[in-house]
């Protein structure tokens, strides 16, 4: 038993989970604030713990920014009545939120969120099959939603569950195919190695822009974000698959959605935007000093946040697709495009070698 490994792993897991959950809470705030600004509103600006109001200048500014709203939201979710409607399938009803959130947390395990701190690699599990693992775990995420729709014993959640099942399976095909050119170029499934390749050759988005486009659109569909938010289309399905849920169970679905967003943002950064690298100031090779290691982590998080803003912005920019348009886009546009992309990349690589 390597105690060193176990202790460092536990520390990394605890820190990553805490950071991801914190980011989820503040992603909700960012969502509300950005939507408010886009719609000429002010957004949450009232939540204030008693002592903060007395701090001059900074206190009121932070309150106006809504920085304490996530605490209020979290408290509200915990204190609300956890209502179980009559006629639900109890076992599945309880299982669904857990199945929804666990995969979204597991995906983060293989993401290299920094190069090195001291001698520790900044990744929880440096798997050789990182990408395959991610796709395997992400496809489990569908079960949470489908189970929630089935267990609720109510027509709108049921429709939401069915829709999400069809949508996520369809887009997983395109998503999986879109990554293959990246694997062809790099020749490795390990996410750390993919970043390592990018430190030498430049970001992969320059080599595989079509892959990036398909991956991004597919990840919008995978995370049920607008313009593909069919499982929870409020105007059509009341609340979608989580209509019958309340309190902390609902909060778990909420957390799962935002954790998924974070995971997809992290995947996009890792696969296409060089992970923790920056092409200047000597930040493009594994850190030698502690300061550089911390800088790399901050670079990674900053890139992720940029993608989170894109996710949020897009939600308030475009209307929802129609269901047949979604399927049309997935199967008749992106799957052939991804196939052609694989073929083109393979041919170019073959001609070069």
């Amino acid at each position: 038993m390597d105690w060193n490994f176990i202790i460092f792993s536990v520390v990394k897991i605890a820190v990553v989970i805490a950071v991801v959950q914190g980011m989820v809470a503040y992603a909700v705030l960012a969502e509300r604030k950005i939507s408010a600004w886009i719609q000429d509103r002010v957004g949450p600006n009232r939540a204030a713990p008693p002592f903060v109001k007395d701090i001059p200048v900074i206190g009121p500014f932070l309150i106006r920014l809504g920085l304490f709203q996530p605490f209020a939201d979290g408290l509200k979710f915990m204190l609300k009545e956890d209502f179980t409607p009559a006629g639900v399938r109890k076992a599945f009803f309880w299982l669904a939120p857990a199945i929804a959130i666990i995969p979204s947390m597991l995906v983060v395990a293989v993401i290299p969120f920094g190069s090195q701190l001291g001698h520790q690699k900044m990744v929880i599990a440096d798997l050789n099959i990182g990408i395959l693992y991610t796709f395997g775990i992400v496809s489990i995420g569908v079960y949470g939603i489908v189970l929630a729709g089935y267990a609720a014993n109510s027509k709108y959640p049921f429709l939401g569950g069915i829709r999400s099942g069809a949508q996520m399976i369809s887009y997983e095909v395109a998503m999986g195919m879109s990554v293959i050119p990246v694997l062809l170029i790099v020749g490795n499934l390990n996410l750390s190695r993919i970043i390592g390749w990018q430190t030498q050759h430049g970001w992969l988005v320059l080599y595989a822009p079509v892959s990036f486009l398909i991956f991004m659109v597919a990840s919008f569909a995978e995370t049920n974000r607008l313009p593909f938010d069919f499982p929870e289309a409020e105007q059509e399905l009341v609340g979608g698959y989580h209509t019958e849920y309340s309190s902390m169970k609902f909060a778990l679905f909420f957390l799962a959605e935002y954790s998924n967003m974070i995971a997809s943002a992290a995947m996009m950064v890792t696969l296409f935007f060089g992970g923790w690298t920056l092409p200047f100031w000597g930040l493009d090779h594994p850190a030698a000093t502690l300061g550089q290691g911390i800088a790399h982590i901050f670079i990674f998080v900053a890139k992720m946040l940029l993608f989170m803003v894109v996710f949020i912005w897009v939600r308030w920019m475009w209307p929802r697709f129609r269901y047949d348009q979604l399927m049309d886009l997935g199967w008749r546009r992106f799957v052939p495009l991804a196939l052609a992309n694989i073929l083109a990349t393979a041919v170019i690589l073959w001609m070069k070698s």
């Binding site: 950005i34 408010a36 600004w37 886009i38 000429d40 509103r41 002010v42 600006n45 920019m317 475009w318």
Partner: protein, 185 residues
């Protein structure tokens, strides 16, 4: 009706013009509300809505120009009140006398349950003494139900004074308007 939609061109089907257009509109609004401060939100407790003069807010009792209670405890408003929010206790045969001339009675107690009131204005319309008016208050808060039942003192204090004796004047004007209502037989 069948709307003939013209088929989208290839350029439009790429969604690119829509993406750029959407980005431009949302970015414009975002920067305007973030840096220009041009938000349309009215931040309620600090900013308040300008209530129009004929707004039907809370019904309050009013005093006349001499500070006397106008209400003569006739109980018409109590009878007309659709949700039965008004409760009047008349003074009885040996009760308190009115505090003004030309009036015989004064209510011993006058209560309006603001939780039941529907702000219809029937009480103001029916009152022969013009003693109750729907004023402009729209924001009531209370921690208990009992707190939301306003008694005579509270209603009089909140109502204030409506100066001048206007009794029957408005009714006469209304009747006059109906006299020469332009109806051709």
């Amino acid at each position: 009706m069948i709307v003939n939609r013209k088929p989208l061109t290839l350029w439009e089907r790429l969604y690119l013009p829509a993406i750029v257009g959407g980005f431009k509109v949302t970015a414009r609004h975002l920067f305007r509300s973030l840096f220009g401060g041009k938000t349309i939100t009215m931040e309620y407790p600090e900013q308040k809505w300008a209530v129009p003069p004929d707004y039907r807010g809370a019904p309050y009792l009013v005093r006349d120009q001499d500070g006397n209670t106008k209400c003569v405890s006739c109980q018409l408003c109590e009878f007309v009140c659709p949700p039965r929010a008004i409760k009047i206790i008349p003074p009885g045969p040996v009760g308190q006398l009115a505090d003004r001339p030309n009036a015989e009675k004064i209510p011993k107690e006058f209560e309006i349950d603001m939780l039941r009131c529907i702000f219809c204005g029937f009480c103001q319309e029916v009152c022969p003494e013009e003693a109750i008016f729907l004023l402009r208050d729209y924001s009531f808060t209370g921690l208990t139900r009992a707190e939301m039942i306003y008694n005579k003192e509270k209603l009089l204090a909140l109502g204030g004074t409506v100066g001048g004796v206007r009794k029957w004047k408005q009714k006469l004007e209304e009747a006059g308007e109906q006299e020469d209502f332009p109806v051709k037989i």
